[in-house]
Amino acid sequence: MPYRLEVALKPELFDAEGDGVRRKAKDYFGYDLSDVRVIHVVTIDAVLSPDQLETIRNEIFTNPVTQISSFTPLPLAFDWAIWVGYRPGVRDNPGSTAVEAIEDVLGIRFEQDQAVYTSKRYCLRGAAGLGEKDVVKIAAELLANDIIQQWRIYPKETWEPDTGTGIIIPKVVLDHTPTVTTIPISSDQILKKISNERNLALNPHDIPTIRSYFLDKDVRAARSAVGLSDPTDVELEYISQARSDHCNHNTFHGRFLYRDTSSNTEEIIDDLFKTCIEAPTLILKEKKPWVISVLWDNAGVGRFNDNHYYVITGETHNSPSNIEAYGGAITGIVGVYRDPLGTGKGSKLIMGSYGYCVGPRDYNGPLKPRLHPRRLLDGVIEGVRDGGNKSGIPTPFGQVLFHPGYMGKCLVFVTAVGLMPAQVKGEPAEQKKTSAGDLVVMCGGRVGKDGIHGVTASSEVFSESTPAGHVQIGDPYTQKKMHDFLLEARDEGLIRFITDNGGGGLSSSVGESARFSNGCEIHLEKVPLKYQGLDQWEIWVSESQERMTVAVHPKDLDRFLELSRKHAVESTVIGKYTDSGKLHIKYHGKTCAYVDMDLLKSGFPQWKFEAEWRSAENRGLTEPVLAEPSDFNQLFLDVLSRPNICSKEWICRQYDHEVQGTSVIKPLVGAQRDVPSDGIVLRPVLNSHRGIAFSQALLPFYSAIDAYHMTTCTVDEAVRRLVAVGADFEHIGGVDNFCWPSIQYDSKVNPDGKFKAAQLVRSCKALRDICLAYEIPLLSGKDSMYVDGHLYGLYGETHKVSALETLQFSAISVIPDVNKCVTLESKVAGDLIYIMGLTRNELGASEYYDMLGYVGLNVPEVKTHEFVDLYRTLSHAIQQELAASVHGVYRGGLGVHLAYIAMGGNLGMEICLDLVPCEGLDRNDTVLFSESAGRFIVTIDPQNRSLFEETFSAIPHAQIGTVTDSPDFIINGLDGQTIVSIPVQELKNAWKRPFGDLI
């Protein structure tokens, strides 16, 4: 019989978790609860004796110093209680570790159908007049997400003190016999209909190709020999996964007819990926001997030193996070960590980073997103926190960006960097292949119904009917054990091939790895399941997390499994690689899939897009008619407290950014350690002084004018962020991560699709241009389309909300000696402040214009040839230790970034705007807030003046002021009059005000 144990902190102890709920109830809804306490409920579905129960209560679940517990409801006072638990089949990590602990303490083994489930009971007090409606709101919109959780509320009056919540067991019971279904393909219409019914998401253009394959005489003959006729559901699911935009990148491989309406020219771009990403990267690979492996594996590989390579890739997890923020984000970060682990013969993870794009945190307009942006952001932050921290991987960098366009679908970027030895047992570590005879081993978690159709769902626009089943909760604990195990197995030379099970599950990982050997034979009944009753196709495509697929030579199997046991990781042989040319799947000996390995390579039609560009002028954009402000002090403070400018320290601090002991430049720097650094630097090989520098940028605002310049400015910013901390400009690797609204034109549902397609074409061209100019090979990349959502408004109508065309760009570099790195803050009073680079009339889509309600026209443009000289010279000057501080000028412009330097140093400064090298500027606001690219602010020791100026003699630069020991931040305008005079502390107060209370 099941037992329910309730555990709570002793009443005299402060309940920080409960208090967090109290704070959020106030923050989200304005409720003034006086007190919230949390009871942790452990429901044990197993047969145990009273003695055994008492033992585990005392030994495992109750800390005698801090906690109380009881198998009857704890008598905590409340006005309302809310119980929240998982729905059946949702990953319950604490439930699993509880089983391990109980088995340990009692020396027993749980049966297959026995389990432990965890849940929580929240005891709410105070808030006079809090009615049922309010409590429901707290339950549904703060504590529980009904996609993954169930909840119940109990008023004080009807609470039964003896039975409490009762015993709730979210056990999955599938009374189902696994069945393979054959799908009729007598006509395109029938297959299309079945595709829709079964949520196969087959592309209509693919359907004739699929049918002609399965109708082919030779194919049918071969199939009938193994007992098959029409395609099975296993086969069509396999094709659907592999052909999805998520896996196959059909959009980027598409054929674009690009028409520029202003110049009336037309151009065909056949395959954006090949022309704009692959081609320049291959050119640069020849020039840059440090590029080790690109364009084929789970992540790109660059040389760190003679003995080590670094590995980098990026991902997004937008659709799942949009409906279950915590689960989506933790699954995203834990998932991207499997990419470096599955690159070459395997890499150790050394860092991760994040990027969140959400609606305004204080949104109170009429649209009704599934999760309010505030709640969504909180959940996403916490998901990446737990995923990163519990993986033991530092999370030292990231961005947060607010814009209403992300209310349709949020963006959650996750990036991972790993490190591999150059060689494993004398073999190149970056290479891998499967060979006929190698065993297919699945390692890590078990397979359940979770994540089924995740890939195809993320290739769709979000709507109310999006199946919720693909939301998962990542399990960093299971994955960490697997990570440690696989690295040990790698070092012993036991891994021939490794890849992760992410999107598409076994279907993708086995399907792709079998291409090397040219075939495989899989026995699906051997795949370990979380619970019985899954259909064969579900086992094949389930995206249950924390799994890797490994090719192991039969002679190495015993040792591989021995190491697996040592690390308490489940590994199972599920088949073998062959050279038969066939993907052959069986279930208890009976064939359920038999398709040619090269099926996916042959005959599928390329996607086609019409792209129609209208320039900003032709779209009617102009510069605003705006006279210069008179109150610069207030203006300045208001800019600093803008959501996209202000301090987000609370996020950085909840991320472990220095585990592994490698931290050199942290995410927050300065005298008070609270100003965000340009980039971060790690010393990943502890006994070496070489460093890895990493940075990212996101500037989607500029897409409102032209995605070409959005792209070049984004890459330029990421590069400057690296140069600013001391990176080597000659060695910069990039990772592009595109998130775009749907670009397929449809007169009804996507009337501006052609324009968005043109924006994508322009963005890709820009990426090619700037990567060639800056010599940045694209080590890895990712695209996520369909960043649109349909949201209900006030009157029951729905609105399509599309994101800004967004590119997150990650840049990575190697630093020869970390002791030469610099940080942004001013260091010593009396130092000279220089600006490097020209300031132009480029306020288009700037923070300043946005604050005043304008878009404008003059978007910043990247002058690559002009900038390259500056970047090279500055890299050199930092190596010569000429600079005391270096900081790029980014979003918000010169004024904001001077403030960063002053706030970082906690020192005053005096600046004269008339000294700023400009191109035709005559207004203080333009000089202060223009977002021209290619600029840095550098402070130097006055003793270095002549050497510094000589070094930069050929480059536009000027001394514009000095660091002072006064408390004031002073800016003198173009006419010499002081226009800004504010104590640095007051700047900081304004900058911290919006989110300063969050922890």
Partner: protein, 274 residues
């Protein structure tokens, strides 16, 4: 000179193994990463080591109280061997999650040689969240702790969600009477943090950051000495370097950091007994 051998426990979600082993090597020891299961199945023998380190991380996901399940595993599978290791005069260091394990095992506070009772706890931070920040520590010169000798005041990073030290008042009194409180959170000037956030990052009562047993040979602390293994780990290093440059001085990366000195204290102690 005989090697001082350090056993760094790994596995089951622990994650500071590489840098802890590296930091002990810098401190002059020979350090090995050993999986908990290797210790349990006998393929690694505690008798081969003189210092055992319970490292940071999230053992078993920290799901039922940080360090609880690791403590159970160690107690049920290794109990007597662990106590035997202590009785031999060896050292045990618990860092962060390791400190949490030591208090759940009862190795700390170890009143009157009772290494089995749980009488102190590390619970959820008062701030309600995980926090990564550098803090100032002040050590207690009267404390018998081997690791904190002559360190006085220094900075280390904290990175935890459950680091609030808590015990009943009588237990606290006893800890102070017996000088078992080895390190406390302090203001940057060395004065007591007096529970002021973020100087005391978690709300620990009496600002307690680390305690030892009555012999001073078992020590647990929340901050991470191994994460200060190089001067560039310190958040102010670029400022310190620039200011030294103005005085014609160079940043000295040769001498040990306070984090390494803490470990050296342990290594030196063993070396004297070998």
């Amino acid at each position: 000179m005989t090697d001082v051998r350090v056993l760094v426990l790994t596995g089951f979600g622990l994650n500071c193994d590489y840098e802890t082993a590296y930091a002990f090597e810098l401190a002059g020891a020979k350090a090995e990463r050993v999986h908990i299961n290797s210790l349990i199945d006998g393929s690694a023998n505690p008798d081969d080591y003189q210092i055992m380190v319970f490292i940071g991380g999230f053992s078993w996901g920290d799901d039922h109280g940080a360090g609880v399940i690791q403590a159970i595993r160690m107690k049920t599978r290794l109990g007597e061997r662990l106590l035997g290791f202590v009785e031999k005069g060896n050292l045990i260091l618990g860092i962060c999650n390791g400190f949490q394990v030591l208090v759940n095992l009862g190795l700390l506070p170890g009143f009157e040689g009772d290494y089995r009772s749980r009488s102190v706890a590390l619970t959820f931070n008062d701030c309600g969240n995980f926090r990564d920040d550098w803090i100032t520590l002040k050590t207690n010169p009267s404390c018998p702790c081997v690791f904190t000798r002559d360190l006085d005041q220094f900075e280390l990073p904290v990175r935890h969600g459950e680091g609030k030290f808590y015990a009943e008042q009588s237990t606290i009194d006893r800890l102070f009477q017996q000088n078992q409180v080895a390190a406390m959170y302090a203001m940057p000037d060395g004065s007591p943090a007096n529970q002021v956030f973020p100087y005391n990052p978690n709300g620990s009562i009496y600002d307690i950051a680390g305690i030892c047993d009555t012999t001073g040979r078992i020590f647990g602390l929340m901050p991470h000495p191994e994460a200060f293994n190089h001067l560039t780990n310190h958040p102010d290093w670029t400022r310190i370097k620039e200011k030294m440059k103005r005085q014609g001085l160079k940043l000295d990366n040769k001498g040990p950091t306070p984090g390494i000195r803490m470990l050296q204290n342990g290594v030196d102690f063993i070396r004297q007994t070998l």
